[in-house]
Every structure is written in structure tokens, then in C-alpha cells.
Symmetry: C2
């Protein structure tokens, strides 16, 4: 594992990129495999026709972008979009070196498998909720996940932003949030949502 770290340090570059930057566009080819060391990345699926999008999952520090890995191997265009949610630092592994790494270090494959499994499970959860639940369940699950990720009870988000993440409309989100507030699960403020843990 130490050897792997040294090898990566040798062939990779480290960059810091600012919040809001799109580091991977849908339809683009992958040139590097990013390994996040600090910050947070959101991964979206864009609707093929309109410009709408849904949040799929986050990439946290210590994780990489599994989609980069596969699109690299299969030489195909990316089917997702990745945007920095916070200023982030990442190690960039050049595409051509990544395959060698995988061959030389079995640990690397285990790492990737682990990630795949994690993200696969997150997609499964989304599909389950989308299929069997109403939007307020989806919304609540989004809020709690968001809160645990940022490690806070207070989310600084507008209803519109949430609507984008969930592929819904602002009015619907507003109404549902209001309901959740009435149920006592959250407290609403301007551009701010507080989870009331009970």
C-alpha cells in the first residue's frame, strides 16, 4: 500500500480546483483519473433531451470517480457530469499510467471494486425510492444524506437548488418542505434548512 502511494506520487500531479467547476462533462472522453484528497464532488446524470439533471452521488475525500475508470478502460464517452461542490484538491493519475498501476498493484483493483460497490448501492437506493416512494420520502432522504455528508444539521440551500438536484420543480419542493416543517422534521429559513433531530 505504501509502494502504491509512492508510485502514485511519482506519476501524478496534484491540483486544487475551485468550487463550481465542472471537471467532467457528459459526452466527454476521460483523460485523467482523479483521486480526491479534500473537498466534495457531485455527480449528475443529465437528461438526454432537455438540460435537466439528477444528482446521483457524491465523491468524498479518499474516493475516486468510478465512471472515469470504466470510461477510460472502455474508451467511451462519459455518461455523467461531475461538478465541484466545494473547493477541492485532487491527485490526477494520467490515463495511460492508470492501467499499469492496476496491473502492478492488486490493492488498486480492490480499491476500485470497493468504490464501485458503494456507488452501485447508492444508485440502487435511488431506484428503490424512485420506484416505491413519493417525492417527500425522496426529499427527506436527500436532506439527511446531505446533512450527514457535510456533517451539520444546517443546510445552506435554496429550494430551487434542491429541485435541480432531484430533477423536480421549485414549487413542488417548497410545498413538500413546508409539509416536513409542519411534521416537525425540519425548520425552514431563507436559503437555509435545519434538520431537527429527535
Amino acid at each position: 500500500m505504501q509502494a502504491l502511494r509512492e508510485e502514485l506520487a511519482k506519476i501524478s500531479s496534484i491540483v486544487t480546483i475551485e468550487k463550481g467547476t465542472t471537471i467532467l462533462r457528459q459526452g466527454e472522453y476521460v483523460k485523467v483519473i482523479p483521486l480526491l484528497t479534500s473537498g466534495l464532488v457531485k455527480v449528475f446524470k443529465e437528461e438526454s433531451v432537455n438540460g435537466n439533471e439528477v444528482l446521483l452521488y457524491y465523491i468524498k475525500p479518499g474516493e475516486s470517480c468510478v465512471m472515469s475508470v470504466t470510461t477510460l478502460i472502455k474508451q467511451q464517452k462519459s455518461h455523467v457530469k461531475a461538478v465541484l461542490e466545494q473547493d477541492s484538491t485532487m491527485v490526477l493519475i494520467p490515463a495511460n499510467k492508470a492501467l499499469e498501476i492496476a496491473k502492478k498493484f492488486p490493492k488498486w483493483n480492490e480499491f476500485i471494486y470497493d468504490l464501485f460497490s458503494l456507488k452501485f448501492d447508492e444508485l440502487l437506493d435511488i431506484i428503490e425510492v424512485l420506484t416505491f416512494s413519493t417525492k417527500n420520502v425522496r426529499l427527506l432522504s436527500y436532506l439527511t444524506k446531505e446533512a450527514s455528508l457535510k456533517n451539520t444539521k444546517v443546510l445552506h440551500k435554496t429550494h430551487q437548488q434542491i429541485a435541480y438536484d432531484l430533477g423536480s420543480s421549485r414549487e413542488v419542493i417548497s410545498r413538500l418542505l413546508k409539509k416536513l416543517e409542519i411534521e416537525g422534521l425540519i425548520k425552514l429559513g431563507q436559503g437555509k434548512i435545519t434538520l431537527t433531530s429527535e
Copy 2:
């Protein structure tokens, strides 16, 4: 690649299992990695509370079950259910040998990565349709995928079966199918749906 095949032949057993058998249950631990040589396997996600389920994707001949691979590596319970849609033959790779294989044959990892990428994309498609489209789009996409998979224009399915696969109800599916028939996209018969390709 030849060496890999020989190695697999040495350590694995081949079995033929009949249609309808559940080869992997949700919550169960994985003991073998199946490699399908003939037949067809459906993979479902079950709702955690009720018994409802959604079809996620199929495993075709030449493919393996990616969920088996990761749940094996991570030693976790399966989050999906796999049922034989047709009588199927498969090579069973013992769990303890699978890791050795992965280390010895880089090709094996590539194979798994490819599969992962494929199935990941299918999940993304489902999420996209669930988020941005109505059920009739989802239904149509289901029917065409089903038809291309079985390589026929005639599907032998009842409305109830389709409802189960999509996690919906029979009445809804019936109504939507009727609409699709009026639009001229399909022709309905008892337990039978014919796609009219134009």
C-alpha cells in the same frame, strides 16, 4: 485468455438450473461467482419493507453477476435478487478461488470492469427515465429492451408480470399498453404483446 479459460475449467463446476429458480436472495451472502454460458437471468431490487420489486437488468450468456463479485470482496450481504428467466447453464467459480484469479489474470479484472460499466449504465438509464419521464416511456423502453434481448417482436408476458417488473400495478400497465396500442406502437393479445416496428 486461453490460460484463464483453462484455469477456470480446472477450479469450477458447471451446472444447469431450471427456469424460475432464485439463485441469489437479497440479504444472503455470496458463495460462488456464476458465469452464465446459456440462458437468461433477471436481477431485481426488492423494496425493503413490502415485498415489491423492480427489475434492474438482465445477465446474458458470457456475463457474470457483478453484484456477486463486489459482495464477495466486501463480505457483505447481497442487495439484489437474481432469478432465472430461462433454463440456464453456468460456470460456478468458488468464492475463495475468485480472488486468486483476479490477481493472476489481468484480463479477469478488465472483464469485470466492463461488466460493471455496462450494468452501471443500465442503472443510470433507469434513473433517468424514472426521474424525467412518465410511466409510458418507462414501459415502452422496457418492452423494446425485452424484445431486443429475446430477439423477437413478440413478447409472451401478462400485464401483471410487466407490472411486477416495473414495480407498478396491473391496471396502470393495462391502460398504458392500451394507449400504446392506439398509438400503433404495439398490438395486444392474450398474454402476448407484439411490437410493430415501423
